[in-house]
């Protein structure tokens, strides 16, 4: 049995851990509020962008001449996966969930005999993937220095992707991120951005015809790269809200577990203290009796 001193030390160490997790929870809660706000504020932009693109692409009659970003290269051989994770740990299953989703996708690709390339955004994803898929990772982008997700970072990622696409380095691009549902639930998402998936929302497409200035093709070829940055930005916003949410609930759990542990240790401490006193008393009494 642990000595009284050991127990005392353990209790105080658990208590100070609890203080840290509690503080982290508070910080995450404050950041979550902000991240959630900006995720919500960012939604109209990406939604409107999506709508315009959908309207446009429905208007394109000649699919074979459409920009490659919309129609694809015609091949499906090389897949690029952009894995978006956080730069910091201690956020529960946040990163693990994305990685799990991504890995099952990689496996599927492998079975189909497709070629795989990976770009990781955020250092945690890189750390987890580089052991098994190190040779597949072609780039690692990390925004440790920027405090919040901002559009310029997203544009940078978008540019790298488009550059690589134009060099014919891949045919299909999918981004992986966590969609923020609420504080406890984040849904790992796989979204294909190149070629653009336009069939999904066909039910609510408007039949209205637009006037275009300049012509459709030019608008499309200008808009599609922008849309990619926008989608990435949306993913980044969702991700940062999810990260804070995941961290908050993880830290909440940790604080509660620490509390339980302190309770248990305190009981044990009191018991062994009592046992020690009883033992001493017995010794004294039996010593007095023998006299």
């Amino acid at each position: 049995m642990a000595s009284l001193d050991d127990l005392k030390k353990r209790i105080s160490s658990v208590k100070s851990t609890q203080k840290i997790t509690k503080a982290m929870k508070m910080v995450a809660a404050a950041k979550l509020k902000r991240a959630q706000d900006s995720a919500e504020k960012g939604r109209p932009y990406s939604q409107k962008m999506n709508n315009i693109i959908l309207n446009l692409s429905n208007g394109v009659s000649d699919k074979s001449n459409a920009p490659k970003l919309l129609s694809g290269t015609g091949n499906e051989q090389i897949h690029l996966c952009v894995i978006m994770t956080s730069d910091r740990g201690l956020c529960g299953g946040f990163n693990a969930n994305i990685i799990k989703k991504a890995k099952s996708y990689f496996l599927k690709l492998k079975q189909e005999g497709k070629e795989l390339k990976i770009i990781t955004v955020g250092s945690k994803g890189n750390d987890q993937l580089k052991r098994v898929y190190g040779d597949k990772i072609i780039e690692n982008i990390s925004f440790k220095n920027s405090k919040n997700a901002n559009y310029f970072d997203a544009e940078k990622v978008g540019k790298t992707i488009i550059d690589r696409f134009e060099k014919h380095e891949f045919d299909i691009c999918t981004i992986f991120y966590n969609q923020f549902k609420n504080v406890i639930t984040q849904i790992p998402q796989a979204q294909q951005i190149i070629p653009l998936n336009t069939e999904k929302n066909n039910e609510d497409k408007s039949e209205e015809s637009y006037e275009f200035e300049p012509d459709e093709d030019e608008i499309l070829s200008n808009l599609l790269p922008k849309n990619i940055s926008t989608q990435i930005f949306k993913a980044m916003l969702e991700n940062s809200a999810s990260e804070q949410g995941a961290r908050m609930s993880a830290m909440d759990n940790a604080t509660r577990n620490a509390g339980e542990m302190v309770d248990k240790l305190t009981i044990e401490y009191n018991r062994s203290r009592q046992a020690a006193i009883t033992k001493e008393l017995i010794e004294i009494i039996s010593g007095a009796e023998s006299l």
Binding site: K41, Y45, K48, Y151, E208, E213, N222
Partner: protein, 130 residues
């Protein structure tokens, strides 16, 4: 009959401006300035660097934009842009900074004709508001 329509300007970070009582908007479309009144035909167009002027009941407002897309549909005008500034709030220093960045961009040797045209346009507009 009312002559008003709705304008919404959004940038990636937030909804920048939303107004219901707008009578006329002039946007710097890619192929020239374009005035939009109520019941304009549905249109999608690009913006080049320039000034957006919004006339509403509460007066005239001007914004500087660098790029973007306008969509007009069912008397809803949406402007999607990544960089927009209210002319009243923009500071001299910021304008000068933007000019400097644009000039550097324009003087790069490997710049394409189109982007050179755009940055020159940007410099011009910025100089006029300065």
């Amino acid at each position: 009959m009312s002559e008003e329509f709705k304008v919404e300007i959004v940038n990636p970070e937030k909804s920048f401006l939303s107004k219901e009582d707008v009578t006329e908007v002039v946007v710097p479309a890619f192929e020239g300035e374009m005035g939009i009144l109520k019941d304009h035909i549905s249109i999608i167009s690009f913006l080049k660097p320039g000034i957006i002027t919004i006339n509403s009941k509460s007066g005239e407002e001007k914004f500087y934009v660098e790029d973007g897309i306008v969509e007009f549909k069912d008397n809803n005008l949406s402007v999607l842009t990544s960089s927009i500034f209210n002319l009243k709030q923009i500071e001299k220093g910021k304008i000068n900074e933007l000019i400097k960045i644009a000039e550097e961009e324009s003087n790069k040797p490997d710049v394409s004709d189109q982007s050179k045209f755009l940055t020159d346009q940007k410099i011009q507009v910025l100089r006029t508001i300065n």
